[in-house]
């Protein structure tokens, strides 16, 4: 069966979102575009398994995510570093006026484990419901909720926007130690 013109144009219009999600996952623009390309090819091949009327974007995100994790497995997680080296590199100070810098935010996001990062992106940025995110990630809704919650807490710690700590080396050291200083 031929791929319909409508399907092609739907794919086209999904590309900006797919790229944003791919960058969020892989933290690398080149890899992200390769992921999107792979996703489009797969979507094209499997278009008959897509049920018109259901959420195309969620379907595409699922393909992209699966592709990402399968590539990561193949590469043996060469670059991922959830807690190690980058932690040292990352010394985020909130800017002087308490305004959170986007660059700092990006660096903080990069530090999250993938499962938390994808959860908070899907819910907080891509506009999916918890139900949809759970389907995309093939897990329970409660799992997504707890990942989002942990991601948020972690980001707050890294960026020190809990409102309780002063700026400075000491409080940063405390964060790096992972203490949940009350």
């Amino acid at each position: 069966m031929a791929v319909s013109v409508a399907f092609k144009s739907d794919l086209l219009s999904a590309i900006p979102s797919l790229r944003a999600f791919a960058v969020s996952l892989s933290q690398n623009a080149d890899k992200a575009d390769d992921l999107v390309q792979e996703t489009l090819v797969k979507a094209w091949d499997k278009h008959e398994s897509f049920q018109p009327g259901t959420n195309l974007k969620a379907w595409l995100f699922t393909i992209l995510r699966n592709e990402f994790y399968s590539q990561m497995r193949k590469r043996g997680r060469e670059v991922q570093d959830s807690d190690g080296i980058m932690t040292a590199r990352l010394a985020v100070h909130p800017s002087q006026h308490g305004q959170l810098d986007l660059k700092d935010f990006r660096a903080a996001l990069e530090k999250l484990p993938e499962d938390q990062r994808e959860a908070i992106i899907l819910i907080g940025a891509s506009g999916f419901s918890y139900e949809e995110a759970a389907e995309i990630c093939d897990c329970a809704i409660g799992t997504i909720k707890s990942r989002v919650s942990r991601a948020r807490t972690r980001l707050q710690e890294i960026l020190q926007i809990s409102g309780e700590s002063d700026f400075g080396p000491d409080s940063i050291a405390a964060q790096v130690m992972g203490s949940s200083a009350a």
Partner: protein, 65 residues
Amino acid sequence: MNKKDDQVSGATQQRTSTADPLGTNSEIARKLKQYYDELVADEVPDRFADLLSQLEKAEPARKKD
């Protein structure tokens, strides 16, 4: 489905119950949006439209229905 323990990390923020783990109005939520919207707004390289056209051409003669 999920153990209560999973939610403990959120215990310090009572107002963000499980109903809204993200805290829609939080600074984090706003930055997240900003971060993502910037990515979405990035100009799409031609290679993707080209790819789709190629896929279309490569299809076996399409049947009319």
